[in-house]
Amino acid sequence: MVSLAATFGRGAMTNHWRDIRHADLILVNGANPAEAHPVGFRWLMRAKLDRGARIIHADPRFTRTSAVADTYVRIRTGTDVAYFGGLINHVLSNRLYHDDYVRWATNAGFVVKEGYAFQDGMFNGFDREQGVYNTKLWAYETDGDGHARIDLDHPRSVLNLLAAHYRRYDPDTVSRITGIPREQFVKVAQQVGEMGRPDKVMTIVYAVGLTHHTTGVQLIRSGAILQLLLGNMGRPGGGMNAERGHANIQGNTDHAISWDILPGYLRIPAPGQKGIAAYLDESASVRQHPRAVNFFGENYRRYLVSLLKTWYGDAATKDNEFAFDYLPKPAANASWISIFDQALRGRMQGVMLSGMTATSIGPDSNQVMQALANLKWLCVMDPFNTTSSEFWRAPGTDPAKVQTEVFMLPATHWIEKDGSFTNSGRWAQWKEQVLPPEGEARHDHWILAELFLRVRELYQTQGGRFPDPVLKLAMPYRNPRKPELDEIAQEINGRDLRTGKRLATFVDLKDDGTTTAGDWIYTGHYPEEGNLTKRRDGVQNPARNDPSGMGLYPGWAWSWPANRRILYNRASADENGRPWDPERPGIAWVGGKWVGDVPDYPPTTGPGPDAPLPFIMTGEGVARLFSNAVADGPFPEHYEPIESPVANPLHPQQSATPVAFLYDERAGRASRFGTPADYPYVATSYRLTEHEHYVTQNVEHLVQLQPEAFVEVPAGLAREKGIETGDLVRVSSRRGKLEVRAVVTKRLGALQVDGRQVYQIGIPIHWGFVGINTGQHWLANALTPFVGDASARTPEYKAFLVDIEKI
């Protein structure tokens, strides 16, 4: 999500599932929606069947998505920057981009400050000691008002720098890196190149096959740049569509169960930010164009103060800056791998896991189990036992040597409680409680509220370190020990404290402590008239429920923000408010008002050459082809995975990204990376249709469908190794091993990469030492490296080196 926010201003799937049917061309990269999102995939098929859309699937494996795609492109895992880079080069060098769109809606004409450089695989501003770039050097030239200088013909205009950067990605180079045959790539490029016309639209669909890499952020950003050049952002049938993998990842990201943000994507404050003004200085974007709305930047203070007022109630006053000091300020990255890194360093005492089994999720399960063994205490809240609750007696572990105190708290299932899930397309849908809690199971939120209140009571009676936020956190629920999710939904929506009424829009939020909102992007989902996420005006009556005919169904549930179904939809129409394609309108200015979707634009502001620019969430007013909001470069560059069979053909002396976070190395632990000499095969992990991160180990019918762990071995390699389907094989990396059955397959094949033949092995994740069917060496993440993306610190699960042998 980091990459989308850095490019467009928000980090979420821009369109929605049903909208994919409007596309002419669908690029699927790093995803297998036919198997991972089978029902969502119906909308790709509808595009194909109803309007003759083409699907191009670039993936290391020939999957069920490939089977119905018009073109299957076998690509080496983790090389999508080169693939998209080649497409960008094709579009730019043949001037196939949507010129009006690019000039109006992107920063193509912004002039980059002198000093920008890219040489031998490195951007300017690298600090060798810290191992990071100084991203502030990647900035625009500005005039006296702080606005960016704009001159499309300037040699340092973003468009000219972009063209120069990607000129190196010619079809031969793309083929050398990705393994895609040159002729096939050229054919793909020709099809993509047609999508820059206003009457054509392409969508990019992706999933963790792009995010789970040390260069994940840049893999996604390169697709986003391509989409901007083709003028496809904001349009029905267009967009960057990230398929989230779990029912409510989107909702829980929005509400910030994430180390670096507060609800509504407000940044977590950093040390040194003494007070709100200093915080805003470094967090809120600044207007860099006189016609930029800079909506987020301008209103940041209102959203932060409303949040603080919600959390700390009467303790948040003007005099104490609304208790800004109560917010914890982390010293360093505190994301997933960092948690276990801290435990390995002996600095973490306790971990609470709810619906997350750290041991299986990894990466580097064996090291994660060591981290758990270093804890004083571990609390697992889950309906079933997990590999984390049972880690102390995992195969090969002596419980007597594990001094961690472990709690297993039986939690309720989704169906035993109400509340809303926000799907990948940002639709917040309410579910009803269908069943009462089973046996002694308790809701996670009741467990957490109860724990918090007991801790509060301990501070009340015994005192302790800085008790104020614990004592003063507002718990305004009828029964604070058992808050109702309906009450919390109202708290998230927010209210006007002077009238006591719930607000209908975030436009009404104030920065003076007179309003509350637990998450500003959800303000309006629960106005005075009721909970809009419960709405069910659906497809049985399209004439009434889908007035635009574009499948928006505005009366079905509620989507953030403001029930808008397509983000950045102002860019679906030209400067004068006319849809780029009248057949597929997003919004249109008709008779003095916007019609169609809820406009992503000042609602009563008309179009025209002097009107505000379309991307209201950025300080520039436009979307960013060049961005300094990512840690590893203002333009995406192809780097090899940390473990790779080849040196980077573009710059062998800087093969991998210089800023990937190597946890073991930074902590002074021995590096645990394998070389191609010892581990000659590339491995990638993935999920099967019947699986959802480990919980499905407990569902009988699904276990019957996929009873046993296996790895997929390409037929050519199997022949070389004498492996046949059903044979037991050992797959090993520098971190660990699996001993499972082999499935010999033509779904995986050999690639020609930089003149060498490279085999890829497929490893379905799922099985472990708990569940209906268990085995000793079934944790797929035993193999994966303990390394994170430079910007997001997302682990590398999709490209690592292994060896395989028949047992």
Partner: protein, 191 residues
Amino acid sequence: MEVSRRRFLSIGPMGVLGGSALGFDLTESIAIKQRLRIEGATLSRSLCPYCAVGCALIAYTKKAPNGRTELLQIEGDPDSPVNEGTLCPKGATSLQLAVSGRRVPHPLYRAPGAAEWTQVSWEFTLDRLARNIKDSRDATFVTQDAEGNVVNRCEGIAFAGGAAFSSEEGYLATKLMRGLGLVHLEQQARV
């Protein structure tokens, strides 16, 4: 005789195939089962707990004579603009997740070094965990960093969760954990 799946479904209940090919007659049992499932059941609207497509579900429940609520059936909601009544293998078997005999029935406690779980009460676990949280918070809380900045953070406790949370639960978790001063906070988005 060639029988497609659709044809099987259409002729099966009439007993033509049910009686001959399978060696027993499905007609009566199917009819009874359908009637029992639908009649008098309460209809609830839910959502699939698995991937993020957000398929809407309809769940049918009935109060059993012993007072328990029995979950009879889960199916796709035909009104939904997302799934239009369809479900994938995971969604279609979500009933087995909802009512599983594999649930952990009681809070369990494993003392340091112990080889087995001990069954304990909620009172015990909540009290002991609250104690642990306070002790770890006090031991690892930093009010000012080396540069003298007010940071008010608890470094030694981490919370990860949320993939199965309703949004409102997730929000409350964030609020409570930030309230305790936690900085290590994660969910499924990255992994």
